[in-house]
Amino acid sequence: MATDSTAVGAIRNRGPLEGVRPAFDLIARQRVLFTILFLVVLPWLAPYKALAVNILIFGLFAMGFNLVYGYAGMLSFGHAALFGLGAYGCGVPIAKFGFPWYVALPLGVLIATTAGVVIGWFATRSRGIYFAMVTLALSQVVYYVVYQSIWLTGGEDGLRGVSVPSISLFGIAEFNLLDPTTKYYLILIIIILALWIFSRILASPFGAILEGLRENEKRAAACGYDVNRTRWFAFVLSSVFSGLAGALYAIHLSVVPIETLHYFTSAVVLMMTLLGGMGTFFGPFVGALVYLLLQDVVSVITVHWQLVVGCLFVLLILFFPRGIWGSLMHWLRI
C-alpha cells in the first residue's frame, strides 16, 4: 500500500507533546493502512450496519470534496451535483433500462466526472469568493433539470427501483446484497481501492502542486504552474470520487432521493469535512462518522436536526476550524 512520508515530512514541525505522539505519528504515516483497519472493524462498532455503509459512502464523498477544499483550497458549494449525478447516473440505467451494476456503476462515475469537467471549467474561471457561488448556482441547475425530468428521474419523488439484489462475480461467487454485512464489505473493497488511488494522488507530483497552490498561489504561478488548469484538474479528480460515492449510494438505498442534489447536501459534505478536519487524510471519515452518528441520535430526540447542524457549523467555525482529527494532528504537531 502506498505510504506517504514525503508529504507529511515536508510540512512536519517538532511540537511539545511527545507522549502520545508516537501512536498518532504512526497513524499519520500509515494512513491508508490505518483507515482500512478502522473501516474493517467499523460494522461491529456502529449501532447498525446500514449506518456503517452510509459512513463508508459519505466518507468517500467527503474525501473527494476534501481534495478540492482541504488540499486545493477551493470552497465548492456544488458537490451535491457530483454526488447526485453519480447516484442518478448509476440508478437510472438500472431502474429504467435494466443495465447490470457493473455497467451502471462506471456510467454513474462517468456522468459525474463529465459534470465535474463542465462545472469545474466555469467555476475555475472565477476565483475565491465567486467559486463558492458559481458552484452553488451550477449545481442548482442540475437540481432543477433533474427535478423537471420526471419521466426519467421521478422528479420530486426521487428515483425508485434501483434494485441490485445480488452480485455475481465472474459466475464464480454469488453475493447477496440484501445482507447488510455482505453489502458493507463489498462496498468496502471499492472504497479501499479508492483510498489507495487517492493516496497515490496525494503522493504524486500533482499532490505537491496542490500543497503549493494552497500555500501561495501567486508563487505557484510565478514558478510556472497554470493555476486555473491545476484547479480544474483537481475538481475533475474530486468528481470521480464523489461521483463514485453517489453511484454506490444509489445501489445501497435502492432509491435516489431528489435531496441528494440539493445544496443542503453540499453543505453536509462540507460539514463532514470540516468536522473531521480538512486537508487531512483520515478527517473525512471521522467527520462522516461523527455527523451520521449525531444525526441518528439527535433525530430520535427532535425533528429539528437542521438547527443542530446550523449550530454545529457556527461552533466549528468559531472555535474548531481544524475539526476533530485536524485539531488532534495540530496539537500533536504531526
Binding site: 514525503t6 515536508a10 504524486s204 507530483p205 501561495n216 501567486k218 514558478c223 510556472g224 504552474y225 497554470d226
Partner: protein
Amino acid sequence: MSTTPVIATEGVGKRFGGFRALSDVTVAFYSGRLTSIIGPNGAGKSTFFNVLSGAFPPSEGRVLFEGRDITGTPQHVFPHLGIAKSFQITNLFPQLTALENVRLAAQAMKSRFDIWTKRETLSELKEKAEDLLNRVGLSKRRNDLAANLAHGEQRSLEIAVALASDPKVLLLDEPTAGMSPEEARAMMDLILKLNEQCSVILVEHRMKLVMGISDRIIVLHHGQLLAEGTPDEIRNHDEVRRVYLGQSV
C-alpha cells in the same frame, strides 16, 4: 553578444485607472549583462518590473523576448520561456521546507499533471534543489520551514526558487530589501556570480549597491525613461544627478 536583445520593451506604458505609472518606456536588455533599474521612490520601477516579469500586461506598447512578442502572456508561461522572477516582498511557500520550495519550483519544468508516480522517484528534482540551495548558501537550512527562516535567508531562498527553472533571464525585485549592509553585500556577490550563467535584471533603489556590479543602468523617473548607460555615464549624467539631489548617491 548577439544583436537581438534578450528582452526588449517598445513604448510600454501602464495606467491604473486614472493614474499613469509608466509612459513610453523603450529599452533593450542584452544577453549576459547585469542591468539595474533604478530611480527614486514612485518612479515606476516596480510597475516596470511587473510588466517585464509578466505579472500584468502593459496598457500600451509591447514586450519582446528574444525577438518574439510576449505581450499579455500569462504569468505562468514565463518560466517556461526562460524568464524567472523573485518578488519584492518575500513570496514563498511558507509551510513547506526550503528544500521543498525549490524542488516544487523545479518540478514545474518537468511534471504538472502527474497523479500517479511517487514524488520520490523524481530524484533528479531533489538533487537539483539541493544543488541550488547550496549555491545560495542555504544547505544547512534545507529542512526548515520557509516561514521560519531569517529574512535574509528567505531572500536567498527566493533566488534559489527562481533559479529552479534554469532561466535565461533572472528578474530580481529589490533583492536586498530589508537586509543589513553585510547581507546586502553578500547578496550582490551572489548575484554577480549568477550573472555568469544568465542575464540578470534587477530593480534597486539603493544606487550605491548597483554601481559596482552593473554592466548597464536604467534610470526611471515619474514613469518615464530618464537615462540609460554604463555606471560611469549614469554617475555623470546631469539629469540623474539633479533628480537624486538630496538623496544619498
